[in-house]
Amino acid sequence: MIELKNVTCRFGEAVAVDRINLTVETGEVCVLVGSSGCGKSTTLRMINRLLPHSAGEILVDGEDITAINPEQLRLNMGYVIQGTGLFPHWTVARNIAMVPQLLKWPREQIEERVHELLTLLELDPATHADKYPQQLSGGQAQRVGVARALAANPNILLMDEPFGALDAITRETLQLEMLRIQKEVRKTTVFVTHDIDEALKLATRIAVMDKGRIIQYDTPENILRRPASEFVENLVGKQDRGLKLISLRRVRDLMQPYPDPKPPEPGAEGLREDDSLRVALSVMLWQDCNRMPVFNASGDETGVISREQIMQEGG
Protein backbone atom coordinates (compact mmCIF):
# COMPACT_ATOMS: atom_id res chain seq x y z
CA MET A 1 0.00 0.00 0.00
CA ILE A 2 1.20 3.49 -0.84
CA GLU A 3 -0.09 6.55 1.00
CA LEU A 4 0.65 10.17 0.17
CA LYS A 5 -0.46 12.62 2.85
CA ASN A 6 -0.45 16.32 2.07
CA VAL A 7 2.59 15.91 -0.12
CA THR A 8 4.10 19.02 -1.68
CA CYS A 9 7.04 19.38 -4.04
CA ARG A 10 8.62 22.75 -4.69
CA PHE A 11 11.41 23.59 -7.14
CA GLY A 12 12.61 26.91 -5.75
CA GLU A 13 9.58 29.19 -5.95
CA ALA A 14 7.55 26.98 -8.30
CA VAL A 15 5.17 24.47 -6.76
CA ALA A 16 5.14 21.30 -8.88
CA VAL A 17 2.92 19.23 -6.63
CA ASP A 18 0.55 20.94 -4.22
CA ARG A 19 -0.63 19.16 -1.05
CA ILE A 20 -1.90 15.97 -2.64
CA ASN A 21 -3.46 13.03 -0.85
CA LEU A 22 -3.50 9.66 -2.51
CA THR A 23 -3.91 6.10 -1.28
CA VAL A 24 -3.11 3.15 -3.50
CA GLU A 25 -4.36 -0.11 -2.01
CA THR A 26 -2.28 -3.27 -2.32
CA GLY A 27 -2.74 -4.90 -5.73
CA GLU A 28 -4.45 -1.86 -7.26
CA VAL A 29 -3.39 -0.03 -10.41
CA CYS A 30 -3.50 3.70 -9.83
CA VAL A 31 -3.12 5.74 -13.00
CA LEU A 32 -2.04 9.37 -12.74
CA VAL A 33 -3.34 11.19 -15.78
CA GLY A 34 -3.05 14.80 -16.88
CA SER A 35 -1.38 17.09 -19.39
CA SER A 36 2.40 17.61 -19.35
CA GLY A 37 3.64 19.69 -16.45
CA CYS A 38 0.73 18.77 -14.18
CA GLY A 39 3.04 17.09 -11.68
CA LYS A 40 2.23 13.44 -12.39
CA SER A 41 5.82 12.35 -13.10
CA THR A 42 7.04 14.41 -10.17
CA THR A 43 4.58 12.58 -7.92
CA LEU A 44 5.84 9.23 -9.18
CA ARG A 45 9.48 10.15 -8.63
CA MET A 46 8.82 11.27 -5.10
CA ILE A 47 7.55 7.78 -4.29
CA ASN A 48 10.95 6.20 -5.05
CA ARG A 49 12.85 9.22 -3.71
CA LEU A 50 14.40 10.22 -7.03
CA LEU A 51 12.96 13.58 -6.01
CA PRO A 52 12.66 14.75 -2.41
CA HIS A 53 9.24 15.92 -1.21
CA SER A 54 9.23 19.36 0.36
CA ALA A 55 6.40 18.72 2.80
CA GLY A 56 3.97 16.01 3.82
CA GLU A 57 4.43 12.30 4.30
CA ILE A 58 4.81 9.34 1.97
CA LEU A 59 4.22 5.91 3.47
CA VAL A 60 4.93 2.57 1.82
CA ASP A 61 3.25 -0.30 3.64
CA GLY A 62 2.90 1.99 6.61
CA GLU A 63 6.55 2.99 6.76
CA ASP A 64 7.75 6.54 6.13
CA ILE A 65 10.02 6.42 3.06
CA THR A 66 12.42 9.01 4.43
CA ALA A 67 13.27 6.48 7.15
CA ILE A 68 14.34 3.91 4.55
CA ASN A 69 17.68 3.98 2.76
CA PRO A 70 16.87 5.14 -0.82
CA GLU A 71 18.64 2.19 -2.49
CA GLN A 72 16.81 -0.31 -0.26
CA LEU A 73 13.52 1.42 -1.02
CA ARG A 74 14.10 1.35 -4.79
CA LEU A 75 15.21 -2.28 -4.87
CA ASN A 76 11.72 -3.16 -3.73
CA MET A 77 10.06 -1.03 -6.43
CA GLY A 78 10.11 -1.99 -10.08
CA TYR A 79 10.68 1.08 -12.23
CA VAL A 80 9.78 1.35 -15.92
CA ILE A 81 10.32 4.55 -17.88
CA GLN A 82 9.62 5.91 -21.32
CA GLY A 83 12.43 5.02 -23.70
CA THR A 84 13.18 1.95 -21.53
CA GLY A 85 16.55 3.08 -20.08
CA LEU A 86 17.99 -0.36 -20.81
CA PHE A 87 21.75 -0.62 -20.39
CA PRO A 88 23.15 -0.64 -23.92
CA HIS A 89 26.37 -2.45 -22.91
CA TRP A 90 24.55 -5.39 -21.32
CA THR A 91 22.63 -8.23 -22.92
CA VAL A 92 18.89 -8.59 -22.42
CA ALA A 93 19.51 -11.33 -19.85
CA ARG A 94 21.95 -9.21 -17.86
CA ASN A 95 19.63 -6.21 -18.00
CA ILE A 96 16.84 -8.28 -16.49
CA ALA A 97 19.23 -9.78 -13.95
CA MET A 98 20.30 -6.37 -12.69
CA VAL A 99 18.29 -6.10 -9.47
CA PRO A 100 18.65 -9.80 -8.50
CA GLN A 101 22.40 -9.30 -8.97
CA LEU A 102 22.38 -6.25 -6.73
CA LEU A 103 20.49 -8.37 -4.20
CA LYS A 104 23.18 -11.08 -4.60
CA TRP A 105 20.88 -13.92 -5.60
CA PRO A 106 22.68 -17.19 -6.44
CA ARG A 107 23.48 -17.56 -10.13
CA GLU A 108 21.19 -20.48 -10.97
CA GLN A 109 18.27 -18.72 -9.39
CA ILE A 110 18.94 -15.59 -11.47
CA GLU A 111 19.15 -17.59 -14.67
CA GLU A 112 15.93 -19.36 -13.86
CA ARG A 113 14.18 -16.08 -13.09
CA VAL A 114 15.36 -14.44 -16.34
CA HIS A 115 14.06 -17.40 -18.29
CA GLU A 116 10.74 -17.26 -16.47
CA LEU A 117 10.30 -13.53 -17.09
CA LEU A 118 11.19 -13.68 -20.77
CA THR A 119 8.56 -16.37 -21.13
CA LEU A 120 6.03 -14.34 -19.15
CA LEU A 121 6.55 -11.40 -21.54
CA GLU A 122 6.35 -13.63 -24.58
CA LEU A 123 9.95 -13.22 -25.66
CA ASP A 124 11.69 -16.43 -26.64
CA PRO A 125 14.61 -16.88 -24.20
CA ALA A 126 16.65 -18.81 -26.76
CA THR A 127 16.65 -16.01 -29.34
CA HIS A 128 16.43 -12.91 -27.14
CA ALA A 129 18.44 -13.52 -23.97
CA ASP A 130 21.82 -12.82 -25.58
CA LYS A 131 20.77 -9.89 -27.74
CA TYR A 132 21.71 -6.30 -26.97
CA PRO A 133 19.01 -3.65 -26.48
CA GLN A 134 19.87 -1.94 -29.79
CA GLN A 135 18.98 -5.12 -31.64
CA LEU A 136 15.40 -5.11 -30.32
CA SER A 137 12.31 -3.36 -31.70
CA GLY A 138 10.71 -0.66 -29.56
CA GLY A 139 8.01 -3.01 -28.32
CA GLN A 140 10.45 -5.80 -27.47
CA ALA A 141 12.73 -3.34 -25.66
CA GLN A 142 9.83 -2.14 -23.51
CA ARG A 143 8.89 -5.75 -22.73
CA VAL A 144 12.44 -6.22 -21.47
CA GLY A 145 12.04 -3.01 -19.48
CA VAL A 146 8.95 -4.45 -17.79
CA ALA A 147 10.70 -7.79 -17.22
CA ARG A 148 13.63 -5.98 -15.61
CA ALA A 149 11.26 -4.14 -13.29
CA LEU A 150 9.56 -7.38 -12.23
CA ALA A 151 12.81 -9.32 -11.84
CA ALA A 152 13.25 -9.36 -8.08
CA ASN A 153 9.52 -9.66 -7.46
CA PRO A 154 9.03 -6.18 -5.98
CA ASN A 155 5.79 -5.38 -4.17
CA ILE A 156 5.40 -2.15 -6.06
CA LEU A 157 5.65 -1.20 -9.71
CA LEU A 158 6.21 2.39 -10.83
CA MET A 159 5.65 3.09 -14.51
CA ASP A 160 6.39 6.49 -16.02
CA GLU A 161 4.70 6.73 -19.44
CA PRO A 162 6.17 3.35 -20.36
CA PHE A 163 4.31 3.01 -23.64
CA GLY A 164 4.41 6.69 -24.62
CA ALA A 165 7.05 6.34 -27.33
CA LEU A 166 5.54 3.30 -29.03
CA ASP A 167 3.34 3.17 -32.12
CA ALA A 168 -0.40 2.70 -31.61
CA ILE A 169 -0.51 -0.99 -32.45
CA THR A 170 2.46 -1.96 -30.26
CA ARG A 171 1.07 0.18 -27.45
CA GLU A 172 -2.27 -1.60 -27.64
CA THR A 173 -0.56 -5.00 -27.53
CA LEU A 174 1.53 -4.04 -24.55
CA GLN A 175 -1.48 -2.64 -22.71
CA LEU A 176 -3.24 -5.98 -23.13
CA GLU A 177 -0.05 -7.76 -21.98
CA MET A 178 0.03 -5.58 -18.95
CA LEU A 179 -3.57 -6.41 -18.03
CA ARG A 180 -2.76 -10.10 -18.43
CA ILE A 181 0.43 -9.90 -16.35
CA GLN A 182 -1.25 -7.77 -13.70
CA LYS A 183 -3.90 -10.48 -13.34
CA GLU A 184 -1.09 -12.96 -12.64
CA VAL A 185 1.22 -10.98 -10.39
CA ARG A 186 -1.07 -8.38 -8.73
CA LYS A 187 1.48 -5.65 -8.10
CA THR A 188 0.58 -2.39 -6.43
CA THR A 189 1.14 -0.15 -9.43
CA VAL A 190 1.41 3.58 -9.99
CA PHE A 191 1.22 4.32 -13.69
CA VAL A 192 1.73 7.75 -15.26
CA THR A 193 0.24 8.63 -18.65
CA HIS A 194 -1.22 11.56 -20.55
CA ASP A 195 -3.46 9.24 -22.55
CA ILE A 196 -6.92 9.03 -20.98
CA ASP A 197 -7.83 5.95 -23.02
CA GLU A 198 -4.78 4.15 -21.67
CA ALA A 199 -5.79 5.24 -18.17
CA LEU A 200 -9.38 3.98 -18.60
CA LYS A 201 -8.13 0.68 -19.93
CA LEU A 202 -5.54 -0.12 -17.24
CA ALA A 203 -6.67 1.57 -14.05
CA THR A 204 -8.41 0.30 -10.98
CA ARG A 205 -8.50 3.95 -9.97
CA ILE A 206 -7.62 7.07 -11.89
CA ALA A 207 -6.18 10.24 -10.37
CA VAL A 208 -6.78 13.18 -12.68
CA MET A 209 -4.14 15.84 -12.06
CA ASP A 210 -3.96 19.46 -13.08
CA LYS A 211 -1.51 22.17 -11.98
CA GLY A 212 -0.01 20.04 -9.24
CA ARG A 213 -3.31 19.00 -7.67
CA ILE A 214 -5.51 15.95 -7.83
CA ILE A 215 -8.87 17.02 -9.27
CA GLN A 216 -10.59 13.65 -8.99
CA TYR A 217 -9.57 10.24 -7.71
CA ASP A 218 -12.05 7.56 -8.61
CA THR A 219 -12.77 4.39 -10.58
CA PRO A 220 -12.79 4.67 -14.39
CA GLU A 221 -16.55 4.21 -14.45
CA ASN A 222 -17.18 7.03 -11.97
CA ILE A 223 -14.74 9.31 -13.76
CA LEU A 224 -16.79 8.83 -16.92
CA ARG A 225 -20.24 8.94 -15.30
CA ARG A 226 -19.64 11.67 -12.75
CA PRO A 227 -16.71 13.89 -13.72
CA ALA A 228 -15.93 16.21 -10.83
CA SER A 229 -15.31 19.30 -12.94
CA GLU A 230 -15.35 20.67 -16.44
CA PHE A 231 -11.64 19.89 -16.70
CA VAL A 232 -12.26 16.19 -16.13
CA GLU A 233 -15.25 16.28 -18.44
CA ASN A 234 -13.13 17.71 -21.25
CA LEU A 235 -10.32 15.28 -20.54
CA VAL A 236 -12.54 12.23 -20.89
CA GLY A 237 -14.19 13.75 -23.96
CA LYS A 238 -17.78 14.91 -23.53
CA GLN A 239 -18.96 13.54 -26.86
CA ASP A 240 -17.70 9.97 -26.92
CA ARG A 241 -18.08 9.30 -23.22
CA GLY A 242 -20.77 6.75 -24.00
CA LEU A 243 -18.45 4.69 -26.14
CA LYS A 244 -15.67 4.93 -23.57
CA LEU A 245 -18.05 3.76 -20.89
CA ILE A 246 -19.12 0.64 -22.73
CA SER A 247 -15.51 -0.11 -23.65
CA LEU A 248 -14.89 -0.67 -19.92
CA ARG A 249 -17.23 -3.65 -19.87
CA ARG A 250 -16.64 -7.10 -21.32
CA VAL A 251 -19.08 -9.10 -23.38
CA ARG A 252 -18.82 -11.85 -20.77
CA ASP A 253 -20.49 -9.69 -18.12
CA LEU A 254 -23.55 -8.88 -20.19
CA MET A 255 -24.27 -11.84 -22.45
CA GLN A 256 -27.02 -14.37 -21.85
CA PRO A 257 -25.01 -17.50 -21.18
CA TYR A 258 -26.18 -20.93 -22.33
CA PRO A 259 -26.48 -23.56 -19.64
CA ASP A 260 -23.85 -25.60 -21.51
CA PRO A 261 -21.28 -24.44 -24.07
CA LYS A 262 -21.95 -25.94 -27.47
CA PRO A 263 -19.60 -26.60 -30.38
CA PRO A 264 -19.75 -23.82 -33.00
CA GLU A 265 -21.49 -24.24 -36.32
CA PRO A 266 -18.95 -24.32 -39.11
CA GLY A 267 -18.17 -20.85 -40.45
CA ALA A 268 -20.20 -19.06 -37.77
CA GLU A 269 -19.03 -15.55 -36.97
CA GLY A 270 -19.30 -14.03 -33.53
CA LEU A 271 -17.69 -12.24 -30.60
CA ARG A 272 -15.27 -13.41 -27.96
CA GLU A 273 -16.01 -13.29 -24.25
CA ASP A 274 -13.04 -10.95 -23.73
CA ASP A 275 -14.14 -8.40 -26.32
CA SER A 276 -15.34 -5.08 -24.95
CA LEU A 277 -18.94 -4.01 -25.45
CA ARG A 278 -17.63 -1.27 -27.69
CA VAL A 279 -16.16 -3.84 -30.06
CA ALA A 280 -19.40 -5.83 -29.87
CA LEU A 281 -21.48 -2.80 -30.82
CA SER A 282 -19.14 -1.89 -33.63
CA VAL A 283 -19.27 -5.40 -35.09
CA MET A 284 -23.07 -5.45 -34.88
CA LEU A 285 -23.36 -2.06 -36.58
CA TRP A 286 -21.03 -3.18 -39.32
CA GLN A 287 -22.81 -6.47 -39.93
CA ASP A 288 -26.22 -4.90 -39.36
CA CYS A 289 -27.54 -7.54 -37.00
CA ASN A 290 -29.19 -7.42 -33.59
CA ARG A 291 -27.88 -10.54 -31.94
CA MET A 292 -24.52 -12.22 -32.05
CA PRO A 293 -23.19 -15.49 -30.66
CA VAL A 294 -20.31 -15.34 -28.18
CA PHE A 295 -17.40 -17.79 -28.15
CA ASN A 296 -14.96 -18.59 -25.39
CA ALA A 297 -11.20 -18.92 -25.73
CA SER A 298 -11.37 -22.55 -26.82
CA GLY A 299 -13.88 -21.74 -29.56
CA ASP A 300 -17.09 -23.09 -28.03
CA GLU A 301 -20.26 -21.04 -28.27
CA THR A 302 -21.15 -20.01 -24.74
CA GLY A 303 -23.87 -17.38 -25.06
CA VAL A 304 -25.54 -14.66 -27.04
CA ILE A 305 -25.62 -10.87 -26.80
CA SER A 306 -28.03 -8.37 -28.32
CA ARG A 307 -27.82 -4.74 -29.35
CA GLU A 308 -30.58 -3.68 -26.95
CA GLN A 309 -28.67 -5.02 -23.98
CA ILE A 310 -25.65 -2.93 -24.90
CA MET A 311 -27.79 0.17 -25.43
CA GLN A 312 -29.35 -0.22 -21.99
CA GLU A 313 -25.93 -0.65 -20.44
CA GLY A 314 -24.60 2.54 -21.98
CA GLY A 315 -27.46 4.66 -20.57
Binding site: L50, E71, G85, L86, M98, V99, L102
Partner: protein, 254 residues
Protein backbone atom coordinates in the same frame (compact mmCIF):
# COMPACT_ATOMS: atom_id res chain seq x y z
CA UNK B 1 45.74 -12.16 -30.51
CA UNK B 2 45.92 -10.71 -33.99
CA UNK B 3 45.03 -7.21 -32.84
CA UNK B 4 48.27 -7.02 -30.83
CA UNK B 5 50.41 -7.74 -33.91
CA UNK B 6 50.76 -4.22 -35.37
CA UNK B 7 51.97 -2.56 -32.15
CA UNK B 8 54.33 -5.50 -31.48
CA UNK B 9 55.83 -5.30 -34.95
CA UNK B 10 56.25 -1.53 -34.74
CA UNK B 11 57.90 -1.86 -31.34
CA UNK B 12 60.39 -4.37 -32.74
CA UNK B 13 61.24 -2.07 -35.66
CA UNK B 14 61.70 0.81 -33.23
CA UNK B 15 64.01 -1.21 -31.01
CA UNK B 16 66.09 -2.59 -33.87
CA UNK B 17 66.49 0.86 -35.40
CA UNK B 18 67.54 2.42 -32.08
CA UNK B 19 70.22 -0.22 -31.57
CA UNK B 20 71.32 -0.58 -35.16
CA UNK B 21 71.29 3.03 -36.36
CA UNK B 22 75.13 3.03 -36.96
CA UNK B 23 74.60 0.25 -39.52
CA UNK B 24 72.77 2.76 -41.69
CA UNK B 25 75.85 5.01 -41.91
CA UNK B 26 76.20 4.69 -45.72
CA UNK B 27 72.61 5.83 -46.19
CA UNK B 28 73.11 8.94 -44.04
CA UNK B 29 76.46 9.68 -45.76
CA UNK B 30 74.49 9.89 -48.96
CA UNK B 31 72.00 12.27 -47.32
CA UNK B 32 74.72 14.44 -45.80
CA UNK B 33 77.91 13.94 -47.87
CA UNK B 34 79.80 17.02 -46.58
CA UNK B 35 79.99 16.01 -42.87
CA UNK B 36 82.61 13.77 -41.30
CA UNK B 37 80.19 12.58 -38.59
CA UNK B 38 76.74 11.38 -39.77
CA UNK B 39 75.54 9.18 -36.88
CA UNK B 40 74.59 11.00 -33.68
CA UNK B 41 76.69 9.51 -30.88
CA UNK B 42 76.60 11.81 -27.87
CA UNK B 43 74.14 9.38 -26.26
CA UNK B 44 72.94 6.00 -27.43
CA UNK B 45 69.56 6.11 -29.20
CA UNK B 46 68.29 3.40 -26.89
CA UNK B 47 69.02 5.58 -23.86
CA UNK B 48 67.29 8.58 -25.43
CA UNK B 49 64.29 6.43 -26.40
CA UNK B 50 64.05 5.09 -22.88
CA UNK B 51 64.26 8.53 -21.31
CA UNK B 52 61.74 9.92 -23.77
CA UNK B 53 59.31 7.10 -23.04
CA UNK B 54 59.67 7.45 -19.26
CA UNK B 55 58.89 11.18 -19.47
CA UNK B 56 55.77 10.50 -21.55
CA UNK B 57 54.60 7.61 -19.36
CA UNK B 58 54.93 9.49 -16.09
CA UNK B 59 53.18 12.58 -17.42
CA UNK B 60 50.48 10.50 -19.14
CA UNK B 61 49.78 8.57 -15.96
CA UNK B 62 49.55 11.66 -13.78
CA UNK B 63 47.42 13.59 -16.24
CA UNK B 64 45.09 10.65 -16.89
CA UNK B 65 44.41 10.13 -13.21
CA UNK B 66 43.95 13.83 -12.57
CA UNK B 67 41.81 14.52 -15.63
CA UNK B 68 39.52 11.52 -15.22
CA UNK B 69 39.08 12.33 -11.52
CA UNK B 70 38.37 15.96 -12.39
CA UNK B 71 35.90 14.98 -15.09
CA UNK B 72 34.08 12.64 -12.73
CA UNK B 73 33.95 15.30 -10.05
CA UNK B 74 32.56 17.95 -12.39
CA UNK B 75 29.73 15.67 -13.52
CA UNK B 76 28.61 14.63 -9.99
CA UNK B 77 25.78 16.55 -8.31
CA UNK B 78 28.27 18.03 -5.80
CA UNK B 79 30.61 19.29 -8.53
CA UNK B 80 28.02 20.37 -11.12
CA UNK B 81 28.60 24.03 -10.33
CA UNK B 82 32.16 23.69 -11.59
CA UNK B 83 31.21 22.01 -14.84
CA UNK B 84 31.08 25.16 -17.03
CA UNK B 85 34.39 26.39 -15.60
CA UNK B 86 36.13 23.03 -16.01
CA UNK B 87 34.95 22.52 -19.57
CA UNK B 88 36.00 26.06 -20.50
CA UNK B 89 39.46 25.55 -19.05
CA UNK B 90 39.66 22.26 -20.93
CA UNK B 91 38.97 23.88 -24.28
CA UNK B 92 40.89 27.12 -23.77
CA UNK B 93 43.92 25.20 -22.48
CA UNK B 94 44.16 23.44 -25.82
CA UNK B 95 44.94 26.72 -27.57
CA UNK B 96 47.99 27.33 -25.35
CA UNK B 97 51.21 26.35 -27.20
CA UNK B 98 53.41 23.83 -25.30
CA UNK B 99 56.52 25.91 -25.92
CA UNK B 100 54.91 28.70 -23.93
CA UNK B 101 54.31 26.32 -21.01
CA UNK B 102 58.01 25.39 -21.15
CA UNK B 103 59.10 29.01 -21.26
CA UNK B 104 56.99 29.72 -18.18
CA UNK B 105 58.13 26.59 -16.32
CA UNK B 106 61.89 27.10 -16.70
CA UNK B 107 62.23 30.20 -14.49
CA UNK B 108 60.36 28.35 -11.72
CA UNK B 109 61.75 24.83 -12.02
CA UNK B 110 65.11 25.39 -13.71
CA UNK B 111 66.52 23.33 -16.57
CA UNK B 112 66.28 19.56 -16.97
CA UNK B 113 63.50 16.99 -16.69
CA UNK B 114 61.28 18.75 -14.12
CA UNK B 115 59.88 21.57 -16.29
CA UNK B 116 59.19 19.28 -19.24
CA UNK B 117 57.36 16.86 -16.95
CA UNK B 118 55.19 19.70 -15.67
CA UNK B 119 54.55 20.97 -19.18
CA UNK B 120 53.67 17.53 -20.49
CA UNK B 121 51.39 16.78 -17.57
CA UNK B 122 49.53 20.08 -17.86
CA UNK B 123 49.27 19.88 -21.59
CA UNK B 124 48.21 16.24 -21.51
CA UNK B 125 45.42 16.92 -19.02
CA UNK B 126 43.25 18.81 -21.40
CA UNK B 127 42.32 16.32 -24.13
CA UNK B 128 41.62 13.72 -21.45
CA UNK B 129 39.53 16.10 -19.38
CA UNK B 130 37.55 17.21 -22.41
CA UNK B 131 36.84 13.64 -23.48
CA UNK B 132 36.00 12.51 -19.95
CA UNK B 133 33.38 15.27 -19.76
CA UNK B 134 32.06 14.47 -23.23
CA UNK B 135 31.95 10.75 -22.48
CA UNK B 136 30.17 11.06 -19.13
CA UNK B 137 27.78 13.73 -20.36
CA UNK B 138 27.08 11.59 -23.40
CA UNK B 139 25.64 8.73 -21.35
CA UNK B 140 21.91 8.59 -22.03
CA UNK B 141 20.00 10.35 -19.24
CA UNK B 142 17.26 7.71 -19.22
CA UNK B 143 19.87 5.00 -18.69
CA UNK B 144 21.31 6.83 -15.70
CA UNK B 145 17.84 7.52 -14.33
CA UNK B 146 16.81 3.89 -14.73
CA UNK B 147 19.98 2.69 -12.99
CA UNK B 148 19.38 5.01 -10.06
CA UNK B 149 15.65 4.32 -9.96
CA UNK B 150 16.19 0.56 -9.88
CA UNK B 151 18.32 0.83 -6.76
CA UNK B 152 21.97 1.24 -7.79
CA UNK B 153 23.98 3.51 -5.51
CA UNK B 154 25.66 6.51 -7.18
CA UNK B 155 29.03 4.72 -7.02
CA UNK B 156 27.56 1.62 -8.68
CA UNK B 157 26.00 3.79 -11.39
CA UNK B 158 29.42 5.33 -12.04
CA UNK B 159 31.39 2.08 -12.07
CA UNK B 160 28.93 -0.25 -13.76
CA UNK B 161 27.13 2.07 -16.16
CA UNK B 162 28.74 5.44 -16.75
CA UNK B 163 32.43 4.53 -16.95
CA UNK B 164 31.95 1.45 -19.17
CA UNK B 165 29.78 3.51 -21.53
CA UNK B 166 32.06 6.57 -21.49
CA UNK B 167 35.27 4.51 -21.46
CA UNK B 168 35.81 4.48 -25.16
CA UNK B 169 35.64 8.26 -25.45
CA UNK B 170 37.93 8.68 -22.42
CA UNK B 171 40.39 6.21 -23.92
CA UNK B 172 40.37 8.20 -27.16
CA UNK B 173 41.24 11.29 -25.11
CA UNK B 174 44.20 9.52 -23.48
CA UNK B 175 45.32 8.37 -26.92
CA UNK B 176 45.28 11.92 -28.30
CA UNK B 177 47.05 13.22 -25.21
CA UNK B 178 49.85 10.63 -25.30
CA UNK B 179 50.42 11.03 -29.04
CA UNK B 180 50.69 14.80 -28.75
CA UNK B 181 53.02 14.45 -25.78
CA UNK B 182 55.40 12.14 -27.60
CA UNK B 183 55.96 14.96 -30.08
CA UNK B 184 55.97 17.66 -27.40
CA UNK B 185 58.52 15.83 -25.21
CA UNK B 186 61.09 16.32 -28.00
CA UNK B 187 60.96 20.06 -27.35
CA UNK B 188 62.27 19.24 -23.87
CA UNK B 189 65.71 18.92 -25.41
CA UNK B 190 65.86 22.73 -25.75
CA UNK B 191 65.81 23.04 -21.96
CA UNK B 192 68.17 20.25 -21.10
CA UNK B 193 65.96 17.15 -20.84
CA UNK B 194 67.45 14.10 -22.55
CA UNK B 195 64.98 12.95 -25.17
CA UNK B 196 64.84 11.86 -28.79
CA UNK B 197 64.68 15.58 -29.52
CA UNK B 198 68.44 15.82 -28.78
CA UNK B 199 69.62 14.66 -32.23
CA UNK B 200 67.03 16.91 -33.87
CA UNK B 201 68.18 20.00 -31.98
CA UNK B 202 71.87 19.14 -32.46
CA UNK B 203 71.28 18.60 -36.16
CA UNK B 204 69.48 21.93 -36.51
CA UNK B 205 72.26 23.77 -34.66
CA UNK B 206 75.07 22.16 -36.69
CA UNK B 207 73.24 22.08 -39.99
CA UNK B 208 73.38 18.28 -40.00
CA UNK B 209 70.25 16.89 -41.71
CA UNK B 210 71.29 13.30 -40.92
CA UNK B 211 70.97 13.96 -37.15
CA UNK B 212 67.57 15.63 -37.63
CA UNK B 213 66.38 12.65 -39.67
CA UNK B 214 67.53 10.09 -37.12
CA UNK B 215 65.70 11.84 -34.26
CA UNK B 216 62.58 12.48 -36.32
CA UNK B 217 62.33 8.92 -37.58
CA UNK B 218 62.54 7.47 -34.09
CA UNK B 219 60.02 9.97 -32.66
CA UNK B 220 57.65 9.19 -35.51
CA UNK B 221 58.02 5.45 -35.01
CA UNK B 222 57.46 5.81 -31.28
CA UNK B 223 54.27 7.78 -31.89
CA UNK B 224 53.07 5.16 -34.38
CA UNK B 225 53.80 2.32 -31.99
CA UNK B 226 51.95 3.90 -29.10
CA UNK B 227 49.04 4.91 -31.33
CA UNK B 228 48.60 1.41 -32.67
CA UNK B 229 48.83 0.08 -29.12
CA UNK B 230 45.86 2.29 -28.22
CA UNK B 231 44.04 1.12 -31.32
CA UNK B 232 44.39 -2.42 -30.03
CA UNK B 233 43.28 -1.46 -26.51
CA UNK B 234 40.20 0.29 -27.89
CA UNK B 235 39.28 -2.81 -29.86
CA UNK B 236 39.61 -4.96 -26.76
CA UNK B 237 37.48 -2.44 -24.85
CA UNK B 238 34.82 -2.61 -27.55
CA UNK B 239 34.86 -6.33 -27.42
CA UNK B 240 34.42 -6.26 -23.67
CA UNK B 241 31.79 -3.53 -23.27
CA UNK B 242 30.16 -2.73 -26.61
CA UNK B 243 30.19 -5.98 -28.57
CA UNK B 244 26.98 -5.12 -30.40
CA UNK B 245 28.65 -2.25 -32.26
CA UNK B 246 31.14 -4.59 -33.94
CA UNK B 247 32.13 -4.70 -36.67
CA UNK B 248 30.64 -1.38 -37.78
CA UNK B 249 32.85 0.24 -35.10
CA UNK B 250 31.25 3.50 -34.01
CA UNK B 251 33.78 6.28 -34.45
CA UNK B 252 33.83 8.42 -31.34
CA UNK B 253 37.35 9.72 -31.48
CA UNK B 254 37.66 13.16 -29.87
Amino acid sequence: MRIWMPPALLAIVLFVLSVGMPALEPLFEWVQPDKRQVIYDRDSFLFLLQNHLVLVLISAFVSSVAAVAGGIFATRPAGRDFLPLVSQVASIGQTFPPVAVLALAVPVLGFGEAPILVALTLYGLLPILRNTLAGLEGVDQTVRQAALGMGMSPVQVLLRVELPLAGKVILAGIRTSVTINIATAAIGSTIGARTLGDPVIAGLVNGNTAYVLQGAILIGLLALTVDSLFEAIERVWDHRFLPQTEPSNLELRG
